[in-house]
């Protein structure tokens, strides 16, 4: 006996389910932003860069953990600390340049492509404002950068815990490192996200934005620090405040109560904690306001 079946064309079905409006749209922009930044649902080329950077950053954390673990195993508990081997407070200083390059190359993709391909015109006729769109993109890249900053620190912490002769004792005495590296990672990621999207909001070409950003990070820090080194006083302090890569690192230093190698000789530290915090917040606020202003009235 042969089985038979019938295919019914039920025709067009109207949608009568929930319409969740603006919040759903904002969530969709966020999800899409994460997928773009990580290359999910796209070809291998789109995945290569973000995952390469995340792998390199994680490797740094892993290598730091292995070295500290080996020192503790060979020399006894606490040897790594006695030898001043790099740990959580040093990680952001060590990895900052890679994070800056990561943000410079990957970040602009979230804004540039939509404008270059004209897709932005489809977003703005949905239940969404220009400010919602840019807020969703900002949050999505912030999430990706948090992954890139927190994952290696988590690997490092777990490595240090596991490498210690007494893991539980290590955890009890060092658990406060967790909120510290989370907070410092957030400070660094928020700064990098905002500056990357600010530059991206001025061009439709990701490559131009990436080159400009890398140049900005690579040039401003050696230039301002170099010029300020030969000077003294307030001018030197304020000049070194313009070393872009150091702006979030000063806050990171405060969180860990220990300067990183990149910032310990920086004149800007002489201006005091409050000035450094206000300076960081001013940069975030002004850059965020410029992005918001550019997308507030954007029409296709």
């Amino acid at each position: 006996m042969t089985a038979t079946g019938t295919v019914f064309d039920i025709g067009y079905q109207s949608y009568s389910g929930a319409r969740e409006g603006r919040m759903r749209a904002l969530t969709a922009v966020y999800k899409d932003g994460v997928r773009i930044a990580l290359g999910l649902g796209r070809g291998p080329r789109a995945k290569a860069l973000p995952w390469f950077f995340i792998a390199v950053l994680s490797m740094i954390g892993l290598v730091m953990a292995i070295i500290a673990g080996a020192a503790n195993t060979l020399g006894g508990d606490g040897t790594a600390e006695k030898m001043s081997l790099p740990t959580h407070s040093d990680y952001y200083g060590i990895a900052s340049m890679i994070l800056f390059v990561f943000a410079s190359i990957v970040g602009p993709e979230l804004l540039c492509r939509d404008r270059r391909e004209g897709t932005i015109s489809l977003y703005l006729v949905r239940p969404l404002t220009g400010a919602d769109y840019v807020a969703g993109r900002w949050l999505s890249f912030l999430s990706v950068l948090l992954l890139a900053t927190w994952l290696p620190q988590t690997i490092l912490f777990l490595g240090l815990c596991g490498g210690s002769p007494e893991p539980l004792k290590y955890f009890q005495s060092h658990w406060l490192d967790i909120p510290k590296f989370l907070a410092a990672g957030l400070v660094l990621s928020a700064f990098l996200t905002t500056i990357a999207l600010l530059v991206a909001s001025f061009t439709t070409r990701r490559a131009y934005a990436a080159v400009f950003l890398v140049g900005l990070f690579l040039i401003t820090t050696p230039f301002t620090v170099g010029v300020a080194q030969g000077m003294q006083g307030t001018l030197a302090q304020w000049l070194s405040m313009f070393a872009l890569s150091n702006i979030p690192l000063h806050i990171s230093d405060m969180i860990f109560a220990k300067p990183s190698e990149l910032t310990e000789n920086n004149h800007a530290r002489e201006l005091g904690r409050n000035v450094l915090i206000l300076w960081y917040l001013a940069w975030i606020t002004v850059m965020g306001a410029v992005i918001w202003f550019r997308y507030r009235r954007l029409t296709p």
Binding site: Y12, Y15, G21, K31, L128
Partner: protein, 303 residues
């Protein structure tokens, strides 16, 4: 066009000025259920009107409502509106399936419903087999279908189609026009169809609005504009001269037009023509009432 109570779209004393240029000048019209064509030369105000209805730009004065809502004040109202732009707007790296799912979610649909709607819409627009291919590898016709699909994926009540046949070959154009007709006939979605191509509007729309210099120059049912004129066009294979003489003898005014003859008169003339053809022993190939094309309307506005 319609009574205000039936209107899905309403423009009331709508004016839009860009510095020294007035794109829309105190325009009022209503658009009701069906397919409405909006015609006009470049700069007539078509795109400006669509952008105001979509809430992308504010009017200088007057009000524009879509489905009873001012979409620039209430962005959630856009979840019942679709828009297919004329220009390129598709991401090249993602598949049509992923793109339409994303667009449905952007319109407020929950993720599971968005996926189902995307698959259904791709089936209805004839892209189901190709749905997992990256859009960058699609032909122009397929890209136009994706553009239409993203405008329909959230099942809007009203959709704005800006030049949907632009760049298509004759076969692709015919298929797209068929999809536009299906959008209203089968899907129940009302359409505002903006086009420069008179024949597309003539064959697809129920009503038209002609904009000229920021004003509504004409509006009404398409049939009203392409109504049968008081002219009959006939073509014969043999005895054409004899037929002309016979018709003139019967008091019918005849004008040669190309290979055929144009005869002045209303439907009453049909019997007279038939008898004349028999009397002249002419082999009749074609006899058809002549229609006034929308092109003439446009030419009139230009004049």
């Amino acid at each position: 066009m319609s009574h205000n109570g039936d209107a899905l779209i309403t423009a009331t004393n709508l004016t839009k000025k860009y510095k020294d240029v007035t794109a829309l000048d105190n325009v009022s019209f209503n658009i009701s259920d069906g397919i409405t064509g909006i015609l006009g030369e470049n700069g007539a105000g078509k795109s400006t009107a669509i952008k105001i209805f979509l809430g992308l730009i504010p009017p200088t004065s007057g009000t524009a409502t879509v489905l009873g809502e001012n979409v620039s004040e209430n962005v959630n109202a856009r979840s019942r509106v679709g828009y297919m732009p004329e220009h390129d707007c598709l991401p090249t790296q993602v598949s049509a399936s992923e793109f339409l799912t994303h667009m449905a979610e952007l319109s407020g649909l929950p993720p599971r419903a968005a996926r189902t709607r995307a698959a259904d819409t791709l089936r209805h627009t004839g892209l189901f087999e190709e749905r997992y291919r990256a859009i960058g590898g699609y032909s122009t016709g397929m890209k136009q279908r994706v553009k239409l699909g993203q405008a329909l994926v959230h099942d809007p009540a009203f959709v704005f189609l800006d030049e949907p046949t632009a760049g298509l070959d004759p076969v692709g154009r015919e298929e797209m026009l068929d999809l536009v007709r299906k959008t209203h006939r089968d899907f129940g979605i009302s359409v505002l169809f903006s086009s420069h191509l008179m024949s597309d509007v003539e064959r697809t729309c129920d009503r038209i609005i002609v904009l000229h210099g920021g004003h509504v120059a004409e509006s009404g049912e398409v049939g009203q504009f392409i109504r049968e004129t008081e002219t009959v066009f006939i073509e014969v294979d043999t005895n054409r001269d004899e037929l002309v003489k016979t018709l003139e003898r019967r008091g019918v005014a005849v004008t040669p037009q190309g290979s055929g003859l144009t005869i002045q008169g209303t439907e009453k003339i049909y019997d007279e023509v038939r008898d004349a053809v028999v009397e002249a022993n002419a082999a009749l190939r074609r006899m058809t009432p002549q229609r006034r094309a929308l092109t003439e309307l446009f030419e009139k506005e230009h004049a």
